[in-house]
Subunit: 135 residues, 2 copies
DNA sequence: CCGAATCCATCAGGATACTG
DNA sequence: CAGTATCCTGATGGATTCGG
């Protein structure tokens, strides 16, 4: 098993060790997903395009620096989570369109709040870092 | 106010290639921090205690499963970012108190929004995952 | 009591090449 | 055009131990 999925589903079909950790925190599990390198950016791009669909190559262009592998993995993860939907156009060459599901759209709200905080305060965070580096 | 400042590119490995990647996205950098395993939980615990201070061992007890190393690293990171403050009581044995700074407190708002989304919708996400596993 | 240091397992994620 | 497969690296983070 090379990869047991990025968003590790509880792969303990039976009693692993019980409850060593506290997996009952949905926030942690959410952050495990949107906290990955490209996921939140994909949601943002798709949200901005919504309700229009976006093609694979178009997404790759919007997300500078992402590889096919990571884009594919990111979209797969979001699709598995029911946050984005796929539509394949059976042409030659084939075209695949992505869009946020209604559930994915609701995620955009708190994500936008986080973005606003980042744009408002990350400069101050950076300043704090500089101050600390001086020591 | 993003006084834009000198817009210091955080990590230019060596030669600045212009804009191959987009390091100007503060959201990514924010998620790189709060997306780590324990950071958001620490902020939550500290926010709930605010304006009271919390001791190291107390934090460790609240965050089930965390090691000293990770708690220390998490708090250091938050302190460097100016989100939490430390107060050392020079007793024997020494006691160290942590609390959110005003800046850290402002982060609690969007973080709480994310938490609400998680509690409201993660069950649906899980259901989507099950449905996908069936294939 | 606090946390720094070491060792070690795992994994995200980048580069590349190949299929349909 | 869209997606998969393989290889490889550095960062994440857990357990443990030492120091102040």
């Amino acid at each position: 098993m090379t990869s047991s999925s990025t968003s590790g589903a509880p792969r303990s079909p039976d009693g692993d060790r019980g409850d060593l950790f506290d997996p009952g925190c949905p926030t942690r599990r959410l952050l495990d997903r949107i906290g990955t390198k490209w996921t939140s950016m994909a949601v943002k791009v798709l949200a901005e395009a919504s309700p229009e669909e976006v093609r694979f190559a178009e997404l790759q262009r919007s997300m500078t620096g992402i590889s096919q592998k990571m884009l594919s993995a990111t979209l797969q993860g979001l699709a598995r989570d029911g946050l984005v939907g796929r539509r394949v156009e059976a042409t030659v060459p084939p075209r695949v369109y992505y869009r946020l599901t209604p559930l994915g759209l609701t995620l955009e709200e708190p994500l936008a709040a986080l973005r606003e905080w980042a744009e408002a305060h990350m400069a101050e965070v950076d300043r704090a870092n500089r101050r600390d580096e001086a020591s």
